[in-house]
Symmetry: C2
Subunit: 393 residues, 2 copies
Amino acid sequence: MSIQQEKLSQAVSIMNELDIDMWITLVRESETSPDPVLELTLGRNITWLSAFIITRQGDKTAIVGSLDEPGVSSTGLYPTVVPYVASMRDDMLRILSGADPGKIAVNFSTSDVLADGLSHGAYLTLKDYLKDTPYTDRLMSAGGIIGALRGRKSSEELERISCAISITEEILSELTGDLKLGLTEKNVADIITGGMKKRGLEAAWDIDHCPAVFTGPDSAGAHYSPTDREIEPGHVLNVDFGVKYLEYCSDMQRTWYFRRSSGEQIPDEVQRAFEAVRDAVRKASEALEPGIEGWKVDDVARSHITSLGYEEYPHALGHQIGRKAHDGSGLLCPRWERYGTLPFEKVEKGQVYTLEPRATIKGYGVATVEEIVVVEEKGCRFLTHPQEDLWVI
Amino acid sequence: MSIQQEKLSQAVSIMNELDIDMWITLVRESETSPDPVLELTLGRNITWLSAFIITRQGDKTAIVGSLDEPGVSSTGLYPTVVPYVASMRDDMLRILSGADPGKIAVNFSTSDVLADGLSHGAYLTLKDYLKDTPYTDRLMSAGGIIGALRGRKSSEELERISCAISITEEILSELTGDLKLGLTEKNVADIITGGMKKRGLEAAWDIDHCPAVFTGPDSAGAHYSPTDREIEPGHVLNVDFGVKYLEYCSDMQRTWYFRRSSGEQIPDEVQRAFEAVRDAVRKASEALEPGIEGWKVDDVARSHITSLGYEEYPHALGHQIGRKAHDGSGLLCPRWERYGTLPFEKVEKGQVYTLEPRATIKGYGVATVEEIVVVEEKGCRFLTHPQEDLWVI
């Protein structure tokens, strides 16, 4: 069974669980303007405006431009494929009035970008199709369906993520052997990229900052490309990196310390910051279990860090990971406005989260680790081999 | 001057021309959920919800998540970069009330997918920021700005497109030397892909069907991947292919005929169909000039094809090309509902269009050529070397 077949049948159960009658994905030129749902429910791109319609009874219909018809039919995922030339309006209305759905989910969400693949223009087109029908008032967000669909990993999905993680750990371990004073952030990035290319793999996110590499105090901060800054004695080095393996991602961070002289003890403030981060991850992992709201898990780690006198980290404790490095929906994050409803989503079995608090060490750099865990019936299980000690060079 | 600098200054003139006071691009996780405008106005990705605000006076402000701030600042494109942690609401309202714009363009369009980068969820977020302000009623589509911005190519953009075309012509000419009976569509695709990789280039669109290869009668039709079907004597072979050169695309089609015996004359019906297509391109190119509505150019080619007894082709005569193979906005297409207002857009100087009619030849295959022209002060100029005769193997 392909992942798309697996996901489509999962979607039907979720729709029944959430009491939603119909789910419409409306998308055009998906290569340029992707709806991220399509990789789960079709696994290829379409050019013309297309509608993928699923009912709670399990009917699956695609209305697509005539030139897209052979490609969509070839997937075998939609038993009914309706090709059109001039407009899909009549086909859409015919299918709607045939099924007469009470609740119709479409892909928009103010909080979850991966459930927000419907463009505003396509939304207006749909509203225009539905004007003068009862269906225009029955539209609702498909956020619940999409969040559950991406979040609840199948065993095949978990397997692929685990492989991506093993490869990342291998590359990071090779890197440790190659690290030395005087290398620039760019040199470090090149070593990692070399390890990835040797294995024929792609980076898990924008190669601009995958890997991200930061050495020493006052470095550029996350989401920034590696620079020509050299590793100096007394630097703390941080790497953030992941690969895609069979379309599934890893995302890990590790921290190294560069001794000022051979035999130098790790400075106290460096050791303490590393332990603060490591222990914040441990405590958060102990709190993470089905049913808990994400912000509470974030709060466990965040309070641990701030209670030790470190500044609050300006981001979430952790995000879900899957086909995307940031896989959307429920987030382990504070209740900041920018996160919308995400902090209040309940953790579910089968979700895979990163745990990535950070602490800034004045004069040295940033200590972070980023681990990955899967939520199980009770609690969670580490998929990474957690970094227990600073790696010292 | 980078292309983004060029485009930002072009944007300000277009806003003045269209009497628009402010243009807001609101986007998040642009790698996953790209607004296609961003490649023109930023040239990198952002993670958190970000607003790029341009006024008709030329002020350029970016409100971005704190982690994205160094990357956005490093571009030097936005003199004011405002980082936020918990929410951008207050910064957005402050900038709006400071500028007090009468017309505020945002990126949605029912017709033009490349001007429709605003997700419905992000639109709702913006509406929420603006509630209880006068600005909520001043929002309008940025389609006019974006269409002109993508359409009017600078000399640097034209240069890159021309290079992409030259390389494509080289690869297609190498292909002609390698073509022979018995090759499958997949073999032909591999030869083309090899030529592209040898040059270190990427395909102009989804490698799934770039190149697209169709041999013989009743082949799968456009937007479909190459198959194991073999080239047989008497087949008409059609290839649709383009490359990206420094981020700009080509997109060309060529047609070959495979003789049934050495010395066989090209069958009349094949020759006539090829000429119908070739002449439709010529006639359309003679009609294409600044100020004409796109549907009229399509109609010239379409009528020529149908007047000779061929079936009407189920797609547009031509699309614009640039950073995307389908570069949005004004289209040379019939007035079908699915095209919305695009057929009525007026052709402008500096736009680059494909011309790609087709004719099906019963029992042989499909005859198509796809040429590329740039619109000039008067009329248009071919950037491709048009295919004047069937290529016979």
